[in-house]
Symmetry: C2
Subunit: 400 residues, 2 copies
């Protein structure tokens, strides 16, 4: 590792400085600076960082992150950080230091528009999800890759508990804006149709081995600047439902949207519109790119090339693709709701809402999120186009 | 192994006789007879027995069968043969010789009623499917078991090809009663809604990791007598959709039903009714037993016990259980159709129909199967109760 570092950052150990820079919930992040440059080192500790040693966590999560980065980098290299090495004995990875990029969440809190974002992230999702699914892989290839990620038990368990279970029960780690949201949380935790919807999505998460998903694709896992978009931190990766990635992204954009009115220093109406436009563009861009791949790269066992030919094949592909995207959209909006709820009621919140100092204002933003989440989880079949969702957000935006 | 055999069958190698007794499609089966008893030895060869060396097949299938037998034996011991040993180096297993039992398919061809069958097989399915699903397992336990069976690639591939793909295309291994069924097969292979249904079920088979299923639960994988029912040959086991096991069983019962009129030596009306009654009893028995387990053993991550309590928990369980069974029923009848079609048009046929010597009579039975299969695959939503299915069979039974 040292020789590799000499090459990347110049000099030798005596010339290097190390600083901890991460604020992640899961791992430690260090910057290694040398005379010629810098790299990032990500290291796992045997527990969940945000909670501490009372929540043990397999060190192997770095291995899964490394393998996910490897797999996705082959498919969408433009949107991934370069990884230089993985060291099993120290549970650490050394990778490109993205010093020209900002965490998307921070950029959105500052009201910054990123002109290429929707184009990039929709491309990233179309490539990584299509090419790790049965649409592109034969069943044997998929099972081999899936076998590897079956072991990513601890991190999946975090999602299972923190997203699908805890917010709906009296869990000790839950917290929310209190007392403002107390009655909202009580009614959420006794809302049978909502709890059924959450259980259905949990079941989907547990059983629907659709593609190698990122597993934690919120706006804190994306780094951006005006030109580039980089997706980081896929340690939650496993074979799960594609809509989970889409839903987390949507949810974090909607939460940012609902938080914007709190920035009093500057009118944010235009930025609110930018956010909703991103959501529309991400879905439409994804659907267009993903659909195109059905024409060029449908080589997996899902629809074996020899299964049908000519006009008939076109007809079958058209029908199946439409159904596939419809189901994916329905999954996405229900996962969107799950993520919004857990970020307001559960253990890990988002800075977009947390930075609102006045509890009444924060509770107002959060209540709008909770209402929208409930509506799209329980009545998801009413929302079949992405504009239905952005319209709903607009109508919730003006509710008290 | 030898010392174990001495104990089981008495004497020593000089006293033992070996005879090949199997007529399976996949492996070789031997009977080892000693002075005190006999055992069965099942040995894998590195190819698919029914085709020969041109179809290579992993020897490890015996390992998956062994592990599936182990897992299912813990859950439903009364319905499983006892396994004495597994030997990796010879890809063979030694197990109980079931000499008081007949292959169910043969019994049904002879018109024999088995009074305990529906009770037993519905119990076997309820126990093995419930307790290997997220309903009973936590996600980590399930993923560990799933990881093991991810490697069962070759045998899953047989199903993917022979059940979901080949019958719908001009595949070299296909064969059917010709020329009688030529036009039926041609229209099947150009039937777009049917091919879409088959593709949807293949997708479910590829992605829906619901439980450790048997994977080949036809009437040739079940041994019976008046008292006992034993399920054998789970080498196709993997984490797949529960409805696949149910569908294969239904399909083979319907094919037996449609074949009965050909037995001219004896009126079979009563036996036809027995078959349909079994189908109804199997589903209803399964649904009742499976439902009961939701009350007593819902301890998996699907619905964490702490997720809700009291009256609310009852309400959630009732709704989820109903939905779960509805979806399972819909899956089951569509897989039923897939299995019926492939047994008439694909590589591996069933003796129930093959034994009909007169091609016109055979084609008549097979055409009824194909029509029913097409109907329940394409219009499955019309059939929501098991009686809808048996009624449909009755109406198809009198068509020419």
């Amino acid at each position: 590792m040292v020789s590799q570092l000499r090459q990347k950052i110049g000099g030798g150990p005596q010339d290097w400085s190390v600083s901890e820079i991460g604020d992640g919930n899961v791992n430690f992040i260090f910057r290694l600076q040398g005379p010629k440059g810098q790299v990032l080192m990500k290291q796992a500790v045997p527990y969940l960082r945000i909670v501490g040693e009372s929540w043990p966590l397999s060190l192997k999560r770095n291995f899964f992150e490394f393998r996910a980065l490897q797999t996705h980098s082959k498919l969408a290299p433009a949107y991934m950080p370069e990884v230089f090495s993985y060291n099993e004995s120290t549970s650490s990875m050394i990778m490109e230091f993205l010093d020209d990029h900002l965490i998307l969440r921070k950029g959105m809190m500052a009201g910054t528009e990123y002109p290429n974002f929707s184009e990039h992230i929709s491309d990233y999702m179309a490539q990584t999800l299509f090419f790790t699914s049965d649409l592109a892989l034969n069943a044997g290839e998929k099972k081999e890759l899936m076998q590897l990620f079956c072991e990513n038990i601890d991190l999946c368990k975090i999602t299972e508990d923190l997203i699908f279970t805890d917010p709906y029960r009296k869990a000790p780690q839950n917290h929310w804006t209190t007392p403002e949201l107390d009655s909202d949380v009580l009614s959420l935790q006794t809302d049978v149709p909502l709890k059924i919807a959450a259980t259905e999505m949990k079941a989907k998460f547990l059983t629907h081995a659709q593609a190698l998903i990122h597993g934690d694709l919120h706006s804190g896992s994306i780094m951006v600047n005006a030109e580039e978009t980089k997706v980081i931190d896929p340690e939650f990766a496993f074979f799960g439902p594609m809509g989970f990635d889409m839903g987390l992204l949507f949810a974090n954009f909607f939460m940012s949207y609902f938080s914007q009115f709190s920035h009093e220093e500057k009118e944010r109406n235009q930025y609110e519109n930018w956010i909703l436009r991103q959501i529309e563009e991400v879905w439409k861009g994804f659907a267009a790119k993903f659909s195109k791949l059905w024409d060029s790269d449908l080589k997996g066992d899902y629809l074996a090339p020899q299964f049908s030919e000519g006009e008939q094949r076109k007809q079958i592909i058209q029908t199946m693709r439409k159904k596939y995207l419809q189901e994916l959209f329905a999954d996405s909006i229900r996962f969107t709701g799950c993520e919004m709820i857990r970020r307001i009621v559960g253990l890990a919140h988002v800075a977009d809402l947390e930075q609102i100092k006045d509890p009444k204002t924060r509770a107002m933003a959060e209540r709008r999120c909770l209402r929208m989440a409930r509506e799209i989880m329980v009545n998801h079949s009413k929302y079949t186009e992405i504009e239905h969702l952005t319209q709903l957000a607009k109508s919730m935006r003006i509710q008290t």
